[in-house]
């Protein structure tokens, strides 16, 4: 049994309370939700904290999936399992189910949260890619109120986010637009392993069926690969096609800066960046076509 070093623990009764605790306890305090990244790091004594602020009681404030007109809002305490099982997300955002199917295992998914995943900011983490791909924004609350930042602003680098020491990520907002879909794919060495490489793709078509926008978010291939502007630029105005997707794949590979490690060689990872980009764009396009057919037959 691996045991963490001694620490203090407080259980927040509201978001306001949690922020007050963080404010009072300072930088040696951390929020714990699912705990599936933080607790192992503490047990391995790779992280030494003085205080844990537990927000697991804050369901009313932080645990929700709301599909509204033009926007989906997901509370930071929403568990992976709820994202996986949510039927409400499937029509517009099937990428969540794609991703959640390959995130860890049921035990982890039962506890781990969207907010925890994003705040951990692991470069191999899946939901950061998903949210970037979708052009999501993050709601961060502190003593002085709330601010909304884009995913690009939120993610500052490996294990580093825009959330300050006395702040909490409360919500993720995802804009919805017509004629769109999205998909996620991951290669791992074994179910539950971190991604060798993963890719999310989202396509938005205009009324003529041409690509209005396309976004790709990669995981585990280095910085600056979550939301690749060159792909959006290259695909905008073109018809969805294998050729276009292949080009996007090449751009994804070029944007990658993977390192060789136990999960694979840099060359392989760069290849996967291209391959998975092609596959997810293709899948997103198929889904748009499928939905159009469904609407027609309805």
């Amino acid at each position: 049994m691996q045991v963490p070093a001694p620490l203090e623990y407080a259980r927040a009764t509201s978001v306001e309370h949690a922020i007050a605790l963080l404010e009072r306890l300072g930088e040696e305090a951390r929020i714990v939700a699912g705990g599936h990244s933080l607790i192992p790091m503490m047990k391995l004594r790779l992280t030494h904290l003085e205080y844990l602020v537990d927000i697991n009681d804050l369901h009313d404030e932080l645990d929700f999936i709301r599909v509204e007109r033009g926007e989906v809002r997901i509370g930071a305490l929403t568990r992976h399992r709820d994202l996986l099982e949510s039927e409400a997300l499937v029509p517009e955002l099937p990428i969540f189910r794609d991703a959640e199917r390959v995130i860890a295992d049921p035990v982890v998914r039962n506890r781990g949260t969207l907010g925890g995943s994003l705040c951990q900011a692991d470069p191999s983490e899946d939901l950061s890619s998903v949210c970037t791909t979708l052009g999501a924004s993050c709601v961060i609350r502190g003593v002085s109120g709330e601010r909304v930042v884009s995913m690009e602003e939120f993610y500052r680098g490996p294990y580093e986010t825009a959330v300050g020491p006395a702040e909490i990520l409360t919500e993720v907002r995802i804009p919805l637009r017509p004629h769109s879909s999205n998909a996620y794919a991951k290669v791992d060495r074994r179910a539950g392993d971190w991604a060798v490489v993963a890719a999310g793709a989202a396509l938005w078509l205009d009324d003529d069926g041409l690509i209005a926008d396309a976004r790709v978010g990669l995981a585990a291939v280095g910085p600056n690969t979550t939301g690749i502007p060159a792909i959006s630029e290259a695909l905008r105005g073109r018809a969805p096609s294998e050729e276009a997707f292949a080009e996007a794949g090449e751009l994804a590979a070029a944007a990658s800066s993977p390192t060789t490690d136990g999960r694979g060689s840099a060359a392989y990872k760069r290849h996967l960046a291209a391959e998975l980009t092609r596959r997810t764009l293709r899948r997103a396009a198929e889904r748009i076509a499928d939905r159009a057919l469904e609407r027609e037959s309805a």
């Binding site: 607790i39 995130i103 781990g112 074994r190 539950g192 060789t260």
Partner: protein, 797 residues
């Protein structure tokens, strides 16, 4: 499959131990809490190779909950700093002069709880003078490589041992007359048994009685008792070793680990029971690894594919101390069976084993004393020959099989295979798989650019060590005792020297005895694991329980039955020879009404009306010294798909036909096979213990040491043939490790078959997507470690 009526003897039945285990009511080491128990934690070296400048425990001793801190220097005073390994080497209990692998034991703390013990480790100050590590076994003997074992007087290099088997001259002659020779280099990488339950012990030394009791995760409690006596100097009759329920062993729980000795010393020092349970990282970085063989192979054959000779050259990485658990005369384990299932007249193997700055071990993980390595070697080489000659992998094997009528068969390296019918097992596997249809499907898929592969492996194991004229561990013969007592009520207790780690001994051994004496398995209690309650024997590993202890159980039951016959004859007033045994009762030949049941005999055995020349009671004791090993075999076939875009390998089907001789309980056999096949998928596709250039283990958690899940394995398709062992009392051969041994080469051969259209001819395990893709690009990795990379220091994805 429903099991409504339990067989009185062999047959499919549910496991007797499972109501306890599946309800979480088992008793594992860490479930035990003794009164006044303290907790022990071990400080381990963070570096692979360093001289210890000093160890300062002052601050740790000042921790309010700490009862004792013990360093290597303290153990030197007690003469306990170094302990013998199972392979005539020594290993420090706590490092004194140098540390020689990352994770080596340096000091321990005994405290009131395990949290305090763990916290206090951080208060021990150690200064290391870091030395260069020796990571690559192939560089271990270079002139400029640092000497690891400077503790051994006169040692000049990192050579652990050299060992040869077979006939070099005859093999040279065979190669000289060959039409075709194929050669390749293969690596069987370092893997770890990774049992779910880590190792641990609770030691309780009673200063008044002088008695030491050790509850310990041991596959071999009697052998451990002897070793504890050797190491501590305590009289062996004052030591009791109890191995309670064990959460998986796979060879990981055969060695005696420094931690066990630390717990014993901790109890002696404090006068209180001391519990030590290692954590997952400690288990992965410091306990017995497996494999780590660099192999060079050559086959000589005729143009029509008949193998004339086999050459093997082995470089074995033994880590910092030679702590393999194998019979003493076989330093390379049973790799000597590397000619496999084939009639080969000439073979030769030379092995060089080296020390490196890695954890010790080498014979573990259900390898049947390195037959895993031997089978992988010959099955890869035979496929290579088939490809060279344009022969189907089935055909090359058929042409070289040891003929059924040739058993018992003496191999070129001196092993006498007891019995076999190889074509029958192969035919059964091909039938289940529908081999011809698979090849047709493969041709169609190849037309479409898909990468489907079919791989075969045919293996023969040598298990049940072993005959004492050939086999011992530290001078202890590899016999197993067994005691059987039938109580007056007709129910029985059988006491075994072996210990289960999940194999189902409580059921299998009850069935073996039931078959012989006709008492239902439910009425036969199996007692094992406690040296005060069981006869001496060398334990459970190398698939030896059924092969050795199972024979002892059958023989002891027959002795009881013989005595019962004499009592029955007395009761029925006939001569013993006039009685007929039908399972459960004796009857007088020709007089259907004159019978007496085993419970009636048992009652009489303790009664007043017994023949004068018979002692009261109904019991017996045997120790079984096997006359030969047993040689289970099997035909395995894997079907894989390789994603042409991502290089991900999917094992789509796996057909396993096993012949383990007489089958005692099909359900338990299938369970063992399923487990071993899953091991095989793990070893073939993902398991690997790697080190960075500093000698730091890269797989120190189960996030980094991957073991397969249900999602990576197909629905197993099992079958069997039955070729009994001629010398085993019930013809059984052992099944525990067959599937772990046999499955990796089938999977690797299948992947190579899938990639054949791309011209890929070689690959080393584990077949991660990256390695497979690199091979598809024409960059089949040379036999080397995977590229070094950062350790993943994170939680779950």
């Amino acid at each position: 499959m429903s099991v409504d009526v339990e067989p009185v003897g062999h047959g499919r039945m549910l496991r007797k131990e499972d109501p306890r285990l599946v309800r979480g009511r088992g008793t594992f080491c860490d479930d035990l809490t003794l009164p006044r128990q303290l907790h022990l934690a071990i400080l381990r070296s963070p570096v692979a190779h360093a001289r210890i400048v000093y160890v300062d425990a002052t601050a740790a001793l000042a921790h309010p909950k700490v009862k004792a801190v013990v360093t290597g220097a303290d153990l030197v005073e007690r003469g306990l700093a170094w302990m013998p390994t199972l392979a005539h080497d020594v290993q420090p209990v706590l490092a004194t002069d140098k540390v020689r692998f990352q994770g080596q034991e340096v000091a321990f703390v005994v405290a009131e709880d395990r949290y305090a013990a763990r916290d206090a480790l951080e208060l021990i100050d150690v200064e290391y003078d870091v030395l260069p590590p020796v990571v690559d076994a192939r560089r271990a003997l270079d002139d400029d490589t640092p000497l690891i074992r400077d503790d051994v007087a006169g040692r000049a290099d990192n050579r652990c041992f050299d060992w040869e088997t077979g006939d070099a001259a005859a093999t040279d002659a065979a190669f000289a007359r060959a039409d075709v020779v194929v050669a390749d280099d293969l690596v069987y990488p370092r893997v770890h048994p990774a049992p779910l339950e880590t190792c641990g012990a609770i030691a309780d030394f009673d200063r008044v009685s002088g008695k030491l009791t050790v509850w310990v995760t041991s596959q071999a409690p009697h052998a451990h008792r002897t070793l504890f006596a050797m190491m501590t100097g305590l009289p062996e009759h004052k030591i009791r070793v109890v191995s309670p329920d064990i959460g998986g062993g796979f060879g990981n729980k055969v060695p005696v680990y420094p931690g066990y000795l630390c717990a014993i010393v901790g109890s002696m020092v404090t006068g209180r029971p001391v519990k030590w349970i290692e954590d997952r990282t400690e288990n992965l970085v410091s306990t017995a690894f497996a494999r780590d063989f660099h192999l060079h192979g050559e086959l000589a054959a005729t143009s029509d594919g008949r193998i004339l000779g086999v050459r093997a050259r082995v470089l074995a990485d033994h880590g910092a101390f030679n702590a393999v658990a194998a019979p003493a005369k076989y330093p390379g384990g049973f790799f000597g069976v590397f000619t496999g299932s084939y009639a080969v007249d000439a073979a030769h193997c030379s092995t060089t084993a080296v020390y490196t700055t890695k954890a010790p071990g080498g014979v573990a993980y259900a390898c049947s004393f390195r037959i895993a390595e031997a089978v992988y070697f010959i099955e890869r080489m035979v496929d290579l020959l088939a490809r060279e000659l344009g022969l189907d992998p089935v055909e090359i094997r058929r042409r070289n099989f040891i003929p059924t009528e040739a058993f018992p068969y003496l191999t070129a390296t001196g092993w006498v295979y007891d019995s076999g019918d190889y074509p029958r097992a192969l035919d059964e596997a091909l039938r289940i798989a529908d081999y011809d249809a698979l090849r047709a499907e493969q041709a169609e898929r190849r037309e479409r650019g898909e990468l489907m592969g079919i791989g075969l492996a045919f293996f023969t194991e040598a298990v049940g060590a072993g005959p004492r004229k050939h086999m011992d561990i530290l001078g202890l013969g590899m016999a197993d005792g067994c005691e059987l007592t039938v109580h007056p009520d007709g129910r029985a207790v059988v006491r075994l020297s072996v210990q289960t780690q999940g194999q189902g001994h409580e059921t299998t051994f009850a069935q073996i005895v039931a078959e012989e004496i006709g008492i239902p398995p439910a009425d036969i209690e199996v007692v094992h694991g406690d040296t005060d309650a069981t006869p001496y024997g060398l334990g459970t590993y190398g698939s030896r329980s059924t092969a050795v202890s199972g024979a002892a159980a059958a023989l002891v039951a027959r002795q009881v039955r013989d005595k019962a016959r004499r009592i029955a004859a007395h009761l029925l007033e006939v001569a013993p020879d006039d009685l007929e045994w039908t399972k459960g009762s004796f009857g007088v030949r020709g007089i259907p009404t004159a019978t007496v049941t085993m419970p009636e005999v048992a009652r009489a055995a303790y009664g007043i009306d017994l023949p004068d020349d018979l002692e009261s009671g109904l019991d017996a004791h045997v120790s079984y010294n096997p006359e030969n090993l047993t040689f289970p075999f099997g035909a395995y076939l894997a079907v894989v798909d390789v994603d042409p875009g991502t290089a991900v390998v999917t094992v789509r089907r796996f057909v396993a036909v096993d012949d383990c001789g007489t089958r005692i309980n099909d359900m338990i056999i299938e369970g063992q096979v399923h487990r071993g096949l899953t091991d095989g998928v793990g070893v073939a596709l993902m398991e690997y213990v790697g080190f960075d250039e500093h000698g730091t283990c890269l797989n120190a958690s189960l996030m980094d040491y991957l073991i397969p899940t249900a999602l990576e394995v197909p629905t197993w398709e099992t079958g069997h043939t039955v070729t009994p062992s001629p010398h085993h009392p019930i013809g059984a051969k052992g099944i525990g490790e067959a599937a772990t041994v046999g499955s990796p080469p089938a999977i690797v051969n299948a992947v190579l078959d899938a990639l054949a259209p791309l011209g890929v001819t070689r690959l080393d395990m584990p077949l991660t997507p990256s390695r497979v893709w690199e091979a598809m690009q024409g960059r089949a990795a040379p036999p080397t470690d995977p590229p070094h990379g950062p350790t993943a220091e994170k939680g779950t994805p």
